[in-house]
C-alpha cells in the first residue's frame, strides 16, 4: 500500500476541522436533537376500559388505530402501553401536534371493537396531550469525568511510554470526542438517550486504538532505525489498520443487525455507537501517525 497517512494529514485535518466547525454551528443554531421522550412532544392516549390477556383486545384496538393513522397520514414516532387496573391505554408519541380528530378516532375505534364478538361491549376513549420533557443526562459531568480520566491516563503514559506517546493519545482522543459530538449535531441525530454514554464509548475506543498504534510506533522505531519518523509512522498505521478495520467491520455487522431486526430505540443506539466507533478510528488512524511523526522529528 503506497498511500501515506502522514502525507495526507493536511487533508484529514481539514476534513475534521470542517466537520467540527459545521457541527458546532449546527449546535449553536439548533441545539441538540433528542428523541421524543426527551423533548416537548405530543401524546395520543387511547384507552380501552377492559383488557384480559386471553382476549384479542390489544390486536383489534391496535389494528383500528393503525388503520386510522394510515388513512390520515400519521406517523407515530414511538409507542408505549400502560395497564390501569382492568383497562389498557395505548400511548402514541408524536414530535409535533398532529391535531387528531378525537371524536372520529373514538368512533372508528368503537366501531372496530363492536364488530368483533370477543371485544364487543368494550368502551374506547381518546385523549390528546402536550408533553414536556427534558434530556436527563448531564453531559457536562460526563465530559468532566472524561477529562479527569484523560489527565490521569496521560500521567500513566508518561511513565509507561514516552511523552510523545502520551501527547499523541491526548490529541487523538480529544479529536475523536469533538468529532463525535460534531457529527451527531451535523446529522441532527438524537443525542438522548445515551448522550454521555455515547461520548464515553467513543472516548475509550479512540484511546484504546491510539495506545495500540503508539506502542507499534515505539516498536518500529527500535526495529527500523534507518527509516524516517514519517515512514515509521506510516508503517505502524498500516500494520495496525487490518485489526482496526476488522473491529469496525464486526461492529458494522452488529449495527446492521440491530437496524434490520431491532425496535426503533435499538436502531438509534446502534447507529450512534457505530458513529462513535467510526470517528474514533478516523481520529486514531489520521491524527496519531502525523503527531508521532512530527514529535519524532523534534526528538531527533
Amino acid at each position: 500500500m503506497k498511500f501515506s497517512f502522514v502525507k495526507k494529514f493536511k487533508l484529514f485535518a481539514i476534513i475534521a476541522l470542517v466537520i467540527a466547525i459545521a457541527g458546532m454551528v449546527f449546535l449553536g443554531v439548533w441545539g441538540f436533537n433528542n428523541t421524543v421522550d426527551y423533548k416537548d412532544a405530543y401524546e395520543l392516549q387511547v384507552s380501552i376500559n377492559q383488557y384480559t390477556p386471553t382476549s384479542n383486545t390489544l390486536e383489534v384496538s391496535k389494528d383500528a388505530i393503525n388503520d386510522y393513522f394510515k388513512d390520515n397520514d400519521l406517523n407515530s414516532v414511538d409507542y408505549a402501553q400502560t395497564f390501569e387496573g382492568v383497562g389498557v391505554t395505548f400511548v402514541y408519541k408524536f414530535s409535533k401536534d398532529v391535531s387528531v380528530n378525537v371524536e372520529t378516532l373514538t368512533q372508528a375505534l368503537q366501531t372496530a371493537l363492536d364488530t368483533k364478538a370477543e371485544v364487543k361491549g368494550l368502551t374506547a376513549s381518546v385523549n390528546c396531550y402536550k408533553v414536556s420533557a427534558v434530556g436527563t443526562e448531564n453531559l457536562g459531568f460526563t465530559i468532566l469525568a472524561l477529562a479527569i480520566a484523560l489527565v490521569l491516563f496521560f500521567i500513566y503514559l508518561l511513565f509507561v511510554e514516552k511523552i510523545k506517546s502520551a501527547l499523541t493519545l491526548i490529541i487523538s482522543t480529544v479529536v475523536s470526542a469533538i468529532l463525535y459530538l460534531s457529527v451527531i449535531c451535523l446529522i441532527r441525530f438524537p443525542l438522548n438517550p445515551l448522550a454521555g454514554v455515547g461520548l464515553a464509548f467513543a472516548f475509550v475506543f479512540a484511546s484504546s486504538l491510539t495506545s495500540v498504534l503508539v506502542n507499534r510506533f515505539k516498536e518500529n522505531a527500535k526495529l527500523f532505525t534507518d527509516l524516517s519518523a514519517e515512514e515509521i509512522a506510516d508503517k505502524s498505521v498500516k500494520s495496525c489498520i487490518g485489526g482496526f478495520v476488522l473491529i469496525l467491520a464486526i461492529l458494522f455487522i452488529a449495527c446492521l443487525a440491530c437496524v434490520i431486526f431491532g425496535p426503533i430505540n435499538l436502531k438509534l443506539i446502534a447507529i450512534k455507537l457505530f458513529i462513535g466507533a467510526l470517528v474514533s478510528e478516523f481520529a486514531s488512524i489520521t491524527f496519531a501517525p502525523a503527531i508521532l511523526a512530527s514529535l519524532g522529528k523534534i526528538n531527533k
Binding site: D78, T82, S132, E137, A145, V197, S211, I253, G262
Partner: protein
C-alpha cells in the same frame, strides 16, 4: 507442559466451562422452584423491563401556575434520582384541548414495593421548618432566616440485638451550627423537630421529631450526644427506604407547588425502549462474540479454540458478577458498557495474536513466539484496560443514571477482560500447545514464516 497433563487439565476446565455455561443460560425446575440462570436473574431497570407510571394533577390550591416547565421537570428529576432510581421518566402533561387546563406530572420508574411512597415524597410540597427547645413541650421555630442543612446522608443499616437500625447524618451549615450551638449552650438537653411545611399545617410532613420519643439530641454530661460539632447522627428502627426518603427531603426540601397526592393515578407501563430490547441486545452481543470467534478461527485456526474458551470464561463470570455484586440493576448504559468490555477483550486478544504471528514470522519457535508475543502485547493491552477503568471510575463518581450504570458495567468488564486476556488466554494457549506435535503446531495455530 506434557501432553497428558495438558489433556487432564483441559478436560477438567471443559467440565467447569460446561457447568458455567449451563448455569449462565439454562433455565430448569429444581424441586418446586425454577432455576432462572445468571442471565435470567439479572435485575433490569425501568428502561428495559418497564415499571410503574404515576400521574398526579396540580392542585387548584396553588396561587401561581408553573411557568418554567423545564425547570420544574429538572427539579422533580433530581429528586427521583436522589432516591436511587437509575432510569426514569418525568414528563409534564397538559391536554391539547384548551378548555381543559389540568397540569399533570407523570413519573415512570422501576416497579418496586416503595415506588408509590417514593413518588409522594418526590412531589411533597413545602419548605423545611426547624423547631427546637430544651423541653419536649416547649419548642419554637429556629433557623428562620438561615439555610440550615448543608448535607444529609443515609449511612446504612446497623444491627443491635437482632434489629436493624437505619443510620443517617445531618450536617448543618456554618450559620445554623453557630445558632444551634448558642441555643444548646448551658442547656442540660435539647430537642429538635424538622417538618416539611409549617408544623400544625394539615399538609405538613414531620421528617424528624426527637420530642415525640423524648429523645434529646444533646444532653449535657452525656457521652452519647446525637449532635456533635454541627453534625447530627441518628438511627431509626425502620425500613431503609423510609430513611432514604427522609434524607432526600432534608437535602432538597419540598417542591414549590401543591399536587393532589391523594389522587395519584398509577399504572403498569411497558419498557420505554421496547419490550424485546434487552433480549435482542443480548442476542446481538452474543452474535458479535461469535462473529469475532469465527474470524479468529479462520485467520488463526487453533487460536479460535483458545479464544472460544477465553470468551466462555469472560461471559459466564461477567454474568455471574452482575448478580453477585449487590445493588446492580442493568439499564441500557450497562448494555453499552458490556459491549465496550467485549470489544476491548476481543481487541486485546487480536493484539496478542498479531504480536505472536509477527514473532513467529521473524523466525522464532512457536513457544518463543508465544512467550515474546504475549510479553510485547502486555503494554498496549493493559493501557486499553487502564483507560477504560479510569473512565469508569470517574464517570461513576461524577454522574448518575445511565452513565453510572455504563461505568459499573465497564469497570467490571475491564478488570475481567484484562484478567481473561492476560491470564486465561495465555493459560489456554499453553494448554493447547502440547496437544499438537511440534511439526504441526505451525499449521494448528495458523502461524506463518515471513518468507511463506
Amino acid at each position: 507442559m506434557k501432553k497428558g497433563k495438558s489433556i487432564i487439565l483441559l478436560s477438567i476446565l471443559s467440565v467447569i466451562m460446561a457447568a458455567l455455561l449451563v448455569l449462565s443460560f439454562a433455565r430448569f425446575p429444581i424441586g418446586i422452584k425454577n432455576y432462572n440462570s445468571f442471565l435470567g436473574a439479572i435485575d433490569l431497570d425501568y428502561d428495559l423491563a418497564g415499571g410503574y407510571a404515576y400521574t398526579c394533577t396540580l392542585s387548584d390550591d396553588n396561587e401561581n401556575e408553573i411557568e418554567d416547565t423545564a425547570s420544574f421537570i429538572k427539579t422533580v428529576s433530581d429528586r427521583v434520582s436522589a432516591l436511587g432510581y437509575g432510569t426514569y421518566s418525568v414528563k409534564a402533561i397538559t391536554p391539547t384541548d384548551e378548555t381543559a387546563n389540568d397540569f399533570k406530572v407523570r413519573i415512570e420508574v422501576k416497579a418496586t414495593d416503595n415506588a408509590s411512597q417514593d413518588i409522594s415524597a418526590v412531589l411533597a410540597y413545602g419548605k423545611l421548618h426547624f423547631y427546637g427547645g430544651t423541653a419536649t413541650d416547649s419548642i419554637e421555630e429556629i433557623f428562620e432566616d438561615v439555610e440550615a442543612i448543608k448535607k444529609a446522608t443515609y449511612s446504612g443499616a446497623s444491627y443491635y440485638e437482632g434489629n436493624a437500625y437505619q443510620g443517617f447524618t445531618v450536617e448543618f451549615t456554618k450559620e445554623a451550627k453557630s445558632e444551634l450551638d448558642k441555643l444548646i449552650k448551658g442547656a442540660s438537653s435539647y430537642y429538635l423537630k424538622i417538618t416539611l411545611g409549617e408544623d400544625g399545617d394539615a399538609n405538613a410532613i414531620t421528617l424528624l421529631d426527637t420530642t415525640a420519643g423524648s429523645f434529646s439530641i444533646y444532653s449535657d454530661g452525656s457521652n452519647n450526644n446525637a449532635y456533635n460539632n454541627g453534625k447530627l447522627s441518628l438511627s431509626y428502627g425502620s425500613d431503609a427506604d423510609v430513611v432514604e426518603r427522609m434524607v432526600m427531603q432534608l437535602n432538597k426540601g419540598g417542591i414549590d407547588y401543591i399536587f393532589d397526592l391523594d389522587k395519584i393515578e398509577s399504572a403498569t407501563v411497558t419498557a420505554p425502549l421496547g419490550d424485546n430490547f434487552a433480549n435482542i441486545a443480548v442476542i446481538v452481543l452474543a452474535g458479535l462474540i461469535v462473529l469475532a470467534l469465527i474470524i479468529i478461527t479462520v485467520k488463526n485456526r487453533g487460536f479460535g479454540l483458545v479464544s472460544l474458551f477465553s470468551m466462555i470464561i469472560f461471559v459466564t463470570i461477567y454474568l455471574f458478577l452482575f448478580i453477585a455484586i449487590p445493588g446492580i440493576t442493568v439499564n441500557v448504559g450497562g448494555i453499552v458498557g458490556a459491549l465496550l468490555s467485549i470489544i476491548l477483550t476481543v481487541f486485546g486478544i487480536l493484539v496478542s495474536l498479531k504480536k505472536i504471528n509477527e514473532d513467529y514470522a521473524s523466525g522464532k519457535t512457536v513457544k518463543a513466539a508465544f512467550k515474546n508475543g504475549f510479553k510485547r502485547a502486555l503494554v498496549p493491552v493493559i493501557s486499553s484496560f487502564v483507560i477504560a477503568l479510569l473512565v469508569s471510575i470517574f464517570t461513576f463518581v461524577l454522574t448518575g443514571g445511565i452513565v453510572k450504570n455504563f461505568a459499573i458495567a465497564l469497570a467490571i468488564g475491564s478488570l475481567l477482560g484484562a484478567f481473561v486476556v492476560l491470564l486465561i488466554f495465555r493459560m489456554f494457549s499453553a494448554l493447547l500447545l502440547p496437544l499438537a506435535k511440534p511439526e504441526r503446531q505451525e499449521k494448528f495455530f495458523g502461524l506463518k514464516r515471513e518468507d511463506d
